[in-house]
Symmetry: C2
Subunit: 196 residues, 2 copies
């Protein structure tokens, strides 16, 4: 017996990850009860993001420019390889890191039928071949798939003479990079070692 429109808005909020009915309802009422300008900015930002955000030509991360701000300004000879864009945000908490990134958009997972060709490994290979890269730091998650992907990439990059390292497993095993704290991430980066 609700208004259809309010229910529609609740449904929209329910499409967000981890949002149940009660939470969606709270969000919806906060929009309904809030100022019109706020709702307009909210809606506009969602549209603008979808309109303008594409992929960085170099690292593959989301950006609204041809080349993302990180690739524009930092040392491109050191490349940190991560699974997802949000892992870039996690690594960026380590203020001392001055290199760039490579976003794989996934990890190798035989269980989920995802092989090396289904993630951005070819693109990484090309970067290493073309861009005079000194070191590739594997910062995939410290789980089975992340480790397997790191090993696979190390194996195919080794013949090219590039140094391949893995962030230290100071990050707790089985957890997700996204939720690690700065100190752990900084230590893990510091203690990185060759993959052999």
């Amino acid at each position: 017996m609700n208004d259809d429109l309010i229910e529609k808005l609740i449904e929209q909020f329910r499409t967000l990850p981890g949002v149940g009915f009660k939470t969606a309802q709270r969000y919806a009422f906060s929009i309904i009860e809030g100022k019109k300008e706020r709702a307009q900015i909210f809606a506009k930002t969602i549209l603008e993001v979808k309109e303008k955000i594409g992929f960085c030509k170099i690292c593959g991360n989301f950006t609204n420019q041809e080349i993302c701000p990180i690739c524009q300004k930092r040392n491109r000879r050191i490349v940190c390889v991560v699974k997802e864009p949000k892992d870039v945000l996690a690594m960026e908490k380590v203020k001392t890191y001055d290199g760039v990134y490579h976003v794989l958009f996934g990890t190798i997972s035989p269980l989920e039928n995802r092989g090396p060709n289904d993630i951005k490994i070819k693109e990484l290979l090309k970067r290493v071949q073309d861009d005079n890269i000194e070191e590739v730091i594997m910062a995939t998650n410290p789980d089975v798939e992340g480790d397997a992907t790191a090993l696979y990439i190390a194996k195919i990059l080794k013949p090219l003479g590039v140094k391949v390292t893995r962030i230290a497993q100071g990050i707790s095993i089985g957890s997700d990079l996204e939720f690690a704290d700065e100190v752990t991430l900084a230590k893990a980066l510091e203690a990185r070692r060759d993959i052999n």
Copy 2:
């Protein structure tokens, strides 16, 4: 070193109640990674809600019609008085209730400097005088302010000869109506009693 646009979207999600940075980030990436159509529908629904949702002429609840679906179809001689629109949603879980509502948009709170004239009590009085109402059920929250508001309203309605009841305090004291389960709410409604 994030893109400004992505940060802008994260900020927008942070304006939602109870949303911290990590959660806002998850929501933002779900929009960025999702389909364009989904983002468009999301944004459109937010705008549409702000454009069309107003207040029901009878009960004061949010609606996109002049008179809300509940007031249109149900027994208008029984009125359940609640603090907020979301409390209507909570009460609606009680499928056996066939009456209508009156939304106060607040409770009397001396501490927060909110008196009877700051909430929709005048409107309720007018409804009782004009609409031949049989019973007013006070379903404000079972806390100090909710109880005080219920007593105040009972006092001013009594001279009009209308029956005023209070939902039973089977609902746990100090909690919020929004979070009560259906069974508790149904029982509380069943055991309502006269305010004397």
